[in-house]
């Protein structure tokens, strides 16, 4: 198992390097002179000043040298500086990341439990009314974008029923209940499409395992059906569910940009949104980098979970 995990970690290195090159190059996509990109569009400078800035920021260096310098800074924890506030991005993100993580965690918790239970039920009772309803709601769930779901929820729960606020944020450590009230609609908007995908993959992987010979053998030797399900079906069906789950949880961070913007939550998603209209390019670059790193981390966790679930990997060394 240790060998397997070490291989996995080693395989992450080229991906991480690639991710860093892509994020480094992102800011070079901005049309125009890099000096204006660094100083913002409002700066008025003489040719001398521009030349000074070019040397100061190392813009005359060849691109690989610039990349190496940038990577060195990133590795020491400096992912850039906001144009607008001039503050370190690492600090800005540290303030906002907890909100996004809370939102994502809540969305996962709200989504995954019903998704897996209904998915198993739909597979076990294939072609029943429950299965049909589950399949239909999955299809609707993956076809309704986050922002539309948010619009519908706000219309129903904030405007018509007046149960929950349509916008705003209360800090968790100041008023936990108020925090939950402001987080509930965003978490559902984010979590429902996630739940739909998870339900679909649970249903199809349980169905797939139910058709295997070893399940028929287990039944034939007279095991009770819940015994078959718990011992033979679910552990084997768990593997694709974990894979898809890991990818989808990381994908939630993309949806968080939209949901946080709609509900006015001060997370990294809303930060990116504000940065775009202000042309605060380093912020967009920094958040993209952090989220991609989170994705790579999640895929590592998924690989570790594989090793825990799959005895072939657990035993091997």
């Amino acid at each position: 198992m240790r060998k397997y995990l070490l291989t996995r970690v080693a395989l992450l290195v080229p991906v991480l390097l690639g991710v860093s090159i892509v994020t480094f190059s992102l800011i070079r996509l901005v049309p125009g002179d890099p000096v204006t990109v660094i100083l913002g569009p409002d700066a008025r400078l003489t040719a001398d000043q521009v030349a000074n800035i070019r040397t100061q920021y190392g813009l005359d260096d060849p691109a690989p040298v610039q990349y190496a310098k940038w990577l060195g800074k990133v590795l020491s924890g400096d992912i850039g500086t906001s144009f607008r506030t001039g503050r370190s991005l690492t600090q800005e993100l540290a303030l906002r990341l907890p909100v996004t993580l809370e939102l994502t965690a809540l969305a996962v918790v709200l989504g995954i439990v019903p998704a897996i239970l209904v998915g198993i039920l739909a597979a076990v009772r294939r072609n029943s009314a429950a299965d049909y309803i589950a399949t239909m709601s999955t299809l609707v769930g993956i076809s309704v974008p986050n922002f539309l779901l948010a619009t519908l929820l706000v219309l129903a729960f904030s405007i018509w029923l007046r149960w929950l606020p349509p916008i705003g944020y209360v800090e968790l450590n100041i008023d936990p209940l108020g925090n939950l009230k402001t987080m509930l609609l965003p978490a559902i908007s984010l979590g429902l499409p996630f739940a739909a995908i998870m339900m679909r993959i649970t249903r199809s992987s349980v169905l797939e395992v139910l058709g295997q010979d070893y399940v028929r053998v287990a039944r034939a030797k007279g095991l009770r059906s819940d015994g078959v399900l718990g011992r033979h079906v679910l552990p084997n069906a768990a593997i694709p569910v974990i894979t898809v789950g890991g990818i989808q949880i990381a994908r939630l961070l993309g949806g968080a940009v939209i949901v946080e913007t709609i509900f006015g939550l001060p997370g990294i998603g809303r930060y990116v949104y504000e940065a775009i209209s202000m042309r605060d390019y380093p912020v967009v670059q920094g958040v993209t980098l952090v989220v991609a790193l989170a994705f790579v981390l999640v895929s590592l966790i998924v690989d570790v979970l594989y090793a825990v679930v799959d005895p072939r990997l657990r035993m091997a060394d």
Partner: protein, 303 residues
């Protein structure tokens, strides 16, 4: 005539049982029939056809222009002169929906075209060449895949500038890995089939082997991918437009229609609900069609 023989099976070298041959002669009709058997897939097909017709011809039959403002008729409820009501500028929602379908369709076709073309080429090369070419191309796709699709699209558009062509390009880029992976995987296994080996040993150039013997076998999974990616492209364009990325107002993109009327939800909910329903139904249609074709192709699910 000789080519046909090479393409199917090298007769004389490998004796194929007659039963298997009978199956391999007409694989296509069976999945088309399988598709039509499924009601959900058929619903998807109808939705897709309806959307395409509206997208192509809708603007011509729209009762009003998409930016035509009727200042006396702001936020009129559905019915009367305005079938689906009007928005906060007194613009006819029905007409804007018809025009907006064209934008979604354009984004879908072009971005799926970009990711399809890039993904197919990269996948064929990686799968057929193998070795370090494959390793590098696969790594490149893993890297693109390491960013949440919507966030990477947002980042690309934020840097390149907000416009519809950049939206199409960004969606095309973030979708390329899905095409590349499927094409690569199938090419890897097709490379070892007898008919490809036969074509190679007859001296066919690589381009010909890929175009005539490998690519046609990818057609079916590519239809599935194109349909599912079209669904994603429509959804992504709407989400980006909702955030204000893409065409500028008064462009009737469905996503921006929802976001501009969001502030008036209490007074005129229809102005957000109709474009929302249009997005959901279109995405649903392409998802249903893609799933349906996939199920029809999967022999394990056919019975």
């Amino acid at each position: 005539m000789q080519q046909v023989d090479v393409q199917t099976r090298p007769v004389g070298l490998v004796q194929t049982p007659p039963k298997q041959r009978a199956q391999s002669i007409k694989p296509r009709p069976s999945w088309v029939r399988g598709l039509l058997r499924q009601r959900l897939a058929l619903t998807g097909l109808i939705l897709v056809l309806f959307f395409s017709v509206v997208a192509i011809g809708g603007a011509r039959v729209a009762p009003y222009g998409f930016s035509e403002q009727h200042s006396r008729d702001r936020m009129q409820p559905p019915g009367g002169a305005y079938v689906l009501g009007t928005d906060e500028f007194g613009r006819d929602i029905f007409s804007r929906l018809l025009y907006g379908a064209g934008i979604s369709f354009q984004v879908g076709v072009i971005s799926v075209g970009i990711s399809g073309l890039a993904g197919i080429l990269l996948g064929l090369v990686a799968g057929y060449r193998g070795g370090w070419v494959d390793a590098i191309l696969s790594l490149l796709m893993d890297v693109v895949f390491a960013f949440p699709a919507i966030l990477l699209a947002i980042a690309i558009i934020a840097m390149l500038g907000s416009s519809l062509p950049n939206v199409m390009l960004a969606i095309g880029i973030v979708n390329t890995p899905t095409f590349m992976r499927v094409v690569r995987g199938s090419t890897l296994s097709l490379r070892r089939t007898t008919y490809v080996e036969a074509a190679v040993s007859l001296g066919a150039p690589t381009v010909r082997v890929l175009a005539r013997h490998v690519f046609p076998n990818l057609a079916a999974p590519l239809i599935v991918l194109a349909s599912l990616n079209f669904a994603f492209a429509v959804l992504a364009e709407a989400s980006l437009a909702f955030l204000g990325l893409g065409n500028k107002p008064p462009s009737p993109s469905w996503g921006s229609m929802v976001s501009s009327s969001y502030g008036f939800l209490e007074i005129a909910p229809w102005a957000a609900l109709f474009p929302g329903a249009a997005i959901a139904l279109t995405v649903l249609g392409f998802n249903l069609l893609g799933d349906g074709v996939r199920d029809a192709l999967d022999p394990r699910l056919r019975y």
